[in-house]
Symmetry: C2
Subunit: 125 residues, 2 copies
Amino acid sequence: MNSMKPQSTERRVKRVGMVIRLRPECVAEYRALHADSHPGVRDLLAKYHLENFSIFLRRIGQEWFEFAYYEYTGADFAADMAALAREPRNQAWLEVCDPMQLPLDGETGWAVMEQVYYNCGADPL
Amino acid sequence: MNSMKPQSTERRVKRVGMVIRLRPECVAEYRALHADSHPGVRDLLAKYHLENFSIFLRRIGQEWFEFAYYEYTGADFAADMAALAREPRNQAWLEVCDPMQLPLDGETGWAVMEQVYYNCGADPL
């Protein structure tokens, strides 16, 4: 019943959930910028092993929040994150997105969340 | 560059992100209840094709929030959700969890979020 233990055929995966505020006046622009036809930095995410990456939006009270989920499948998370941060095209992308966002108190960017549950759920066959 | 289009070998997947408030006084109990050694309703999630299911916690200001992410891989989402809701063991589980949670304004349970971005990121080889 211990679903956290990867099966022998499963890749090692680090699942990351993050949250940040989105300025209400930027919701439409953020949506358009992330529409599927926009290449953004998709290729760079793949290059540094950030897979299955989703961003969701939700208004809570008078505020808007973004929630991101992705799976890191590489061998050195810190090194890959540092290399991604050095990519000029990623820096240019963040210069567009960062001003739309308001980090949570005490944060300078996306706030990493605590994972309390995981269930693979895949057919074990 | 259009990563939303599933590759021919990829299963059809509906990605769902949800959010709900967690009563601050229930955070420790919720964590323990969802710890990996607790079977919960993991088998029922698998039975109804809810895969790769994660729950994350985060305090925002004075409030606590839960964020859930899962992938539905079945053929009839509404029918599977209805069947899951009829499972007595799922009902018993919700009777434990529901009192710990505070739905967002206008919601009666988990609030579904709007997905604005997806990137597979997997090596296309």
